[in-house]
Structure formats: structure tokens, C-alpha cells
């Protein structure tokens, strides 16, 4: 049953978006988020939405995946909408007792909801089209300049890689331990919440002990393979910026410039 867990939400494919350099994808995702928040005009927001439609179309990620990625943020969207609607001053639309809903409040609520939805859908596209390993790789290389500020970039990336590597191994191990404990009469399926939580202890303890032993052995094996941190290390796979990366960069830049121009030349009617 544990075997069904997938790591991250990667959707293997061979679209142009899948093939983009992970560094470029991360930077462009950040740029897209900035674009969403500087768009102060409905046309600007529309560009943001069309951008999503376009990129999801190329990537061939099924649209229902957008809904799936939005599910966890629905409470946040509702919460911020309600707050915006009731607590922003302006031209009242409906007012009774101490509650008053203003025009400004409603527009802010709608705009913020659109922004959050686009933000989640946009960042999800990054994780849908980039495997965890190349995502880690991209983050490591992008953060490289931060090494100057004593940030252990290489170490963090190595930890991520090892964690990803050991997830399937530890899942398999959990399965084995569960079977072993069930064979000894452990009851994992009945009882209240507390009882079930307590039933997990005989599974977690052996799992932790074994994880520590594995860590110890892995550290030894890594030392035997001359590992001594990021210093003086080379990489077999070099990331290269291809023409498609440059084109996608230019495309996003045009969108951002477009949004800025619309902001400047069209009357600003939306709250920031």
C-alpha cells in the first residue's frame, strides 16, 4: 500500500517545457510570480492567465492536475477573500449593522484570488515538468553565488539528493517492518486515533534504528569514494543553455514588459 506514494509530483514527458534547463525554469517561475503581482490592470492579469493556458498547453499536463494542485490552498483563498471583502474601506455596496461590503473590497478579493490561483498553478507547472533530481541540481547551481555568504549550498543539495534516493528504500523497509509486526500480532487498523498512533511506535523505532545504520554505512562508503564536500568537485553532466532556453526567457520578458506598459499607459484601477 505504501508503494503507491510518488515522490514529488513529477509528470514525465518530453515537451519543450520538460526539456528547458531547470535553472531557467526556476528563474522564469520567479519572474512569472513577480509579473502577477505588478499587474495592476485587468488586462495585465489576463496576460498572466493566458500565459498559464499557453504553457500548460505546450507541456501536455492534464488540466485536472491544476485543480489537484489548488485543492490545498482553497482555505487560504477563501480566508483572504473574506478578510478583503469585509475590511477594506471604500464605496459601500451592502451595509447593515457593523458589516459593510465595499466595491474596493470585492475587487481586491477577486484580484487576490486570481493571483493566488495563478501563482500556485504556475509553480506547480515547474514541479510537474522537472524531475526532483534536476530541480535540486538547478537550485544548487543557482544558489552557488550564495556560497560567498557561507551558505552550505552543496551540502544542502547533497542532503536533498540522498533523501530522494532513500525514500523508496525506506518505504520498502517500512513495508517489511509492518508485515513483521503484523505477523507478531500488531493491530494497526482498528482503534481510535491515540491507539493507532501508539501502534505506530513499534514500526517507527526499528525504522529509525535502521535509517541511522544506513546513514552510517553510506557515510563510510562515500568517504571511500573520496567524497570531501563540494570543494574541488566536478560534475559529469553540465547544464547548458540552449536556444529554447533563451527563447523562453525572451518570451517571459516580453510578457513582463507588456504588463508594465499596460500599467503605465492604462489607468490603474486595481489595488496592488
Amino acid at each position: 500500500m505504501l508503494r503507491d506514494i510518488t515522490i514529488g509530483q513529477y509528470f514525465p514527458g518530453s515537451s519543450a517545457i520538460h526539456k528547458l534547463d531547470p535553472r531557467m525554469k526556476i528563474v522564469l517561475t520567479l519572474a512569472y510570480i513577480v509579473m502577477l503581482f505588478i499587474a495592476s490592470n485587468p488586462i495585465g492579469l489576463l496576460i498572466g492567465i493566458l500565459f498559464l493556458v499557453f504553457t500548460y498547453g505546450i507541456s501536455k499536463i492534464p488540466p485536472r492536475m491544476i485543480l489537484k494542485s489548488l485543492k490545498p490552498v482553497v482555505p487560504i483563498i477563501i480566508f483572504t477573500s473574506v478578510l478583503n471583502m469585509f475590511f477594506i474601506d471604500g464605496t459601500p455596496l451592502v451595509a447593515f449593522w457593523i458589516i459593510k461590503i465595499t466595491l474596493e473590497g470585492v475587487t481586491t478579493a477577486v484580484v487576490m484570488s486570481i493571483r493566488i490561483i495563478c501563482l500556485i498553478a504556475g509553480t506547480s507547472l515547474l514541479t510537474y515538468t522537472t524531475s526532483p533530481i534536476s530541480l535540486t541540481d538547478g537550485i544548487e547551481r543557482l544558489c552557488n553565488p550564495l556560497k560567498r555568504f557561507k551558505l552550505p549550498v552543496h551540502e544542502l543539495a547533497m542532503m536533498m539528493t540522498i533523501a530522494l534516493r532513500f525514500i523508496p528504500t525506506l518505504i520498502e523497509e517500512t513495508d517489511k517492518i509492518m508485515s513483521a509486526q503484523k505477523a507478531r500480532g500488531a493491530d494497526l487498523e482498528t482503534g481510535g486515533l491515540m491507539q493507532r498512533a501508539r501502534a505506530l511506535i513499534p514500526i517507527l523505532i526499528p525504522l529509525f534504528v535502521s535509517a541511522f545504520r544506513r546513514a552510517d554505512e553510506l557515510a563510510l562508503a562515500m568517504e571511500c569514494r573520496c567524497y570531501r564536500g563540494g570543494e574541488g568537485r566536478s560534475r559529469m553532466k553540465q547544464l547548458k543553455i540552449h536556444s529554447r532556453d533563451i527563447f523562453s526567457g525572451i518570451f517571459v520578458a516580453i510578457c513582463i514588459v507588456g504588463v508594465i506598459l499596460i500599467n503605465v499607459y492604462a489607468p490603474v484601477i486595481l489595488p496592488m
Partner: protein, 283 residues
């Protein structure tokens, strides 16, 4: 043949919980020549893994001296040069694979050595072909069988171009098929690439396929000779809790029952031949 690994008068002990020293190696002297295929045999706690860990400077002797490729293992500045020359493969293949893709894992060692990307690519492809795993280079390690994973671990070591590989019970966790795959790979590397191999094992059949067998018991060397010679001492081996290959055991029992057979039979063919000639003599 030049000497590649040497231990002279090595004594080593672990500190126990009650602060008492538990001596694991007692004044061991051992010399291994370049190109040899040596098996180190011994039951649990005989010190066979401990001596192996001395050869690539994971452990340093408390008394005596160990050199690998002519470098003293106590010299901490040379430690990575030693580890590049003397690779080590461990028992559990799962716990020595670092990356989530086979070829990336094989590249891990050369990457640590700071080798140029194109050269790493070449070495990785060669190493994977040498262990017969080239077609699996894009797989995730957890999709492979135990024997395949262990061959990936071996590829990860030979991509560093070592002169010597030490394998610490590499087949202990594998099924018979995986065991055969790994042993074939080891023998191939030894014969075709002239890599010195030290195979630590408790499978007698594996030791019988090596050029030389070293038997350890209780931190001391018991035998150091050819497999044929070592396995002729059935009685002593049994006393220290070791088995002998099945053929050797059969002949030993027959001899004890008063049947006249030579005492240095090792392979199945030899055994069959000796028995048939014996039976023909009876007829």
C-alpha cells in the same frame, strides 16, 4: 610482481563500553602482490573486515604499519590518493549508492576526484560496460535486483581507476544468481584489467575460485596459501568454525571412512574423476 598492499605487525583493538580494549587484530603481517586475487576467510569476529578497513585508511593500526601502493596509511595528507587507488565495496548495495540514477551514481567517485566532465562520461560508460550494466544506465537504483545493485557499486569504484579493489562480503546479502553475477564480474576485472582483488567472504565456494586464500581466526592468520592447500586442512578449518567446499568435505568424509582418495580435491570435476576411477578399480 610488485607489492601493492602490506601490513607489518599490525595490532588493532576497539574500545568497548566499559573502556576495555577489545583486541581484534594481533600482530598481523600480510603482503599482497599486484594482480593477485586473494580471498580472506574467517567467521564473524575473526578480524577479516577490520584488516580490510586498514588497507584503505578507514582504520589506522595502533601498532605496526600498513602501506597501500607504497603510501603509509598514517599519512593523512595522502588519504584520498590511497582511497582512489584502493577502492572498497561493502556488503549492502543499498547503503553505498548515493544518486537516484545509475550513471550519476557511477560518476560520483570521479566527480569527487575533480576529473573533467568528458573524461568522467567516458569512464562511466566503460565502467558500466565492464560490469555488464550499460543498458541500465538511466534506471533508478531501487528498480534493480541485489546483484545488479552490487555491480553498480563495483562500477562506481572502478570508474575511479583503482589498482586494487577490496570487497567486504559483497555477496552476503544476495541470492545465488546475484552471487554468481558479482563473482564473475570480480574475476573478469582481475583477469582482464589486472586489478588486484581482495575478496572477504565466508562462502568457501567463492574462496576456492581465488588464487590465494588467507584464513583468519581470532585476530590471527591461520593459513595463507593456495585454496587447494588450505582446504586440505579440513579438521582445523572445522575446529575454527569454518566449512570447506562440499566436494572437499565429501572426499574428507570418504577418507575418514577408510576409502583411499587424494586429500587436495577442490573442483567438482576433480571429485567426479577421482570417484569414477576409484569405482572402476573396485569393479
Amino acid at each position: 610482481m610488485p607489492e601493492i598492499l602490506s601490513a607489518k605487525g599490525v595490532t588493532f583493538g576497539y574500545l568497548k563500553e566499559d573502556n576495555e580494549l577489545n583486541i581484534v587484530l594481533k600482530n598481523i603481517s600480510l603482503s599482497i602482490q599486484e594482480g593477485e586475487l586473494v580471498a580472506i576467510l574467517g567467521h564473524n569476529g575473526s578480524g577479516k573486515s577490520t584488516i580490510a578497513k586498514h588497507f584503505n585508511a578507514i582504520l589506522v593500526p595502533q601498532e605496526g604499519k600498513v602501506t597501500a601502493c607504497g603510501i603509509d596509511t598514517k599519512n593523512e595528507e595522502e588519504i584520498y590518493r590511497i582511497r582512489q587507488q584502493v577502492g572498497m565495496v561493502f556488503q549492502n548495495p543499498d547503503n553505498q549508492i548515493v544518486a537516484t540514477i545509475v550513471e550519476e551514481d557511477v560518476a560520483f567517485g570521479p566527480e569527487n576526484l575533480g576529473i573533467a566532465p568528458a573524461e568522467i562520461r567516458r569512464r562511466v560508460d566503460e565502467a558500466l560496460k565492464d560490469v555488464g550494466m550499460y543498458e541500465y544506465k538511466d534506471h533508478a537504483p531501487h528498480q534493480l535486483s541485489g546483484g545488479q545493485k552490487q555491480r553498480i557499486a563495483i562500477a562506481g569504484i572502478i570508474a575511479m581507476r583503482p589498482r586494487c579493489i577490496i570487497l567486504d562480503e559483497p555477496t552476503a546479502m544476495l541470492d545465488p544468481k546475484g552471487r554468481r553475477e558479482v563473482l564473475t564480474t570480480i574475476r573478469k576485472l582481475n583477469k582482464e584489467h589486472n586489478i588486484t582483488v581482495v575478496l572477504i567472504t565466508h562462502y568457501m565456494e567463492e574462496a576456492a575460485q581465488c588464487d590465494r586464500v588467507v584464513v583468519m581466526n581470532d585476530g590471527e592468520l591461520l593459513f595463507d596459501s593456495t585454496p587447494r592447500d588450505v582446504f586440505s586442512h579440513v579438521q582445523i578449518l572445522k575446529e575454527v568454525g569454518l566449512d570447506v567446499p562440499q566436494t572437499t568435505e565429501l572426499c574428507h568424509e570418504l577418507r575418514r571412512a577408510g576409502i583411499n582418495l587424494p586429500d587436495d580435491i577442490l573442483t567438482e570435476e576433480e571429485c567426479v574423476e577421482a570417484l569414477t576411477s576409484l569405482l572402476e578399480g573396485v569393479r
